[in-house]
């Protein structure tokens, strides 16, 4: 399933994001590769495994004899906090998308609780597009960063850890040469 289809039903004429103009058509919705999210997902799974299956680790690590109720509440607390953390990280990944329309390029970036960065630029302001592939993991999983350089005071836009970067680079390049047309 493509990222676009998670948001809207393709059969309806529903808008994808707030501020989308009536004549504005979404061409591509990109998201970070999920493999990058393993950096937080693996520790979360390990913590949940410890909480569920290793009661003695929590119990024996304390010299002080706390009650059974305390250990139950401690397990519940670790479970809630870990799930809240994982849920928040997943939401950040899910909603951090790069949208290419026939008018503009928008980068929604959400990092942790309450931190967000939304950058957009019109296609006519795009000067150049470069693709950077750094690191072993990027090489193995085919992830790359796309840097969009814009003219004047317009902010530059970075698409991070994108799969199929060559196609996206070609798409933005074609669109910037022929803005407001479908490629």
């Amino acid at each position: 399933m493509k990222p676009h289809e998670f948001f809207v039903d393709s059969n309806t004429k529903q808008k994808l994001f707030m501020g989308q103009n009536p004549n504005e058509r979404v061409i591509e919705v990109l998201r970070r590769g999920f493999i990058v999210e393993l950096s937080w997902l693996v520790p979360v799974v390990i913590i949940l495994f410890v909480v569920f299956f290793s009661d003695f680790i929590l119990r024996d690590s304390f010299l002080i004899p706390f009650s059974d109720n305390f250990f139950f509440c401690l397990k519940l607390f670790i479970l809630i906090v870990t799930l809240c953390f994982a849920f928040n990280k997943y939401n950040d990944w899910f909603y951090s998308v790069n949208i290419i329309t026939n008018h503009r390029v928008i980068d929604f970036e959400f990092i942790g609780l309450g931190i967000k960065k939304i950058v957009e630029t019109e296609l006519k302001n795009i000067q150049s597009i470069s693709v950077t592939n750094v690191g072993v993991w990027s090489f193995i999983f085919g992830l790359a960063d796309i840097h969009i350089l814009t003219s004047g005071d317009n902010p530059n836009i970075d698409f991070e850890y994108i799969t199929d970067s060559k196609r996206v680079q070609d798409l933005i390049s074609d669109l910037s040469r022929n803005p407001r047309r479908e490629v």
Binding site: F7, L16, M18, F70, L76, F77, Y95, F110, G114
Partner: protein, 73 residues
């Protein structure tokens, strides 16, 4: 006096209750922040998965309220 001896001198019931109360207040605050952050994220889009995500967020908040109830019991 070692740290272990220091803890042994404390009243364990009060110490337990204080720790549990602090933990549950932290859990409630954290889950509320997560739900508020989710609402903020969803305000940028027209997502069809909106009710499912919100349901999970509210479940986490309810679980943290249960934690508070357990710690007070």
């Amino acid at each position: 006096m070692t740290l272990n001896e220091f803890f042994l001198q404390l009243n364990f019931q009060n110490l337990e209750r204080f720790i549990l109360l602090a933990m549950s207040i932290f859990a409630i605050a954290y889950s509320l922040f997560v739900v508020r952050d989710l609402m903020d994220l969803q305000s940028h889009y027209e997502s069809k998965l909106e009710p499912l995500f919100m349901f999970f967020g509210v479940c986490l908040f309810i679980a943290s309220v249960f934690l508070l109830l357990f710690s007070l019991s």
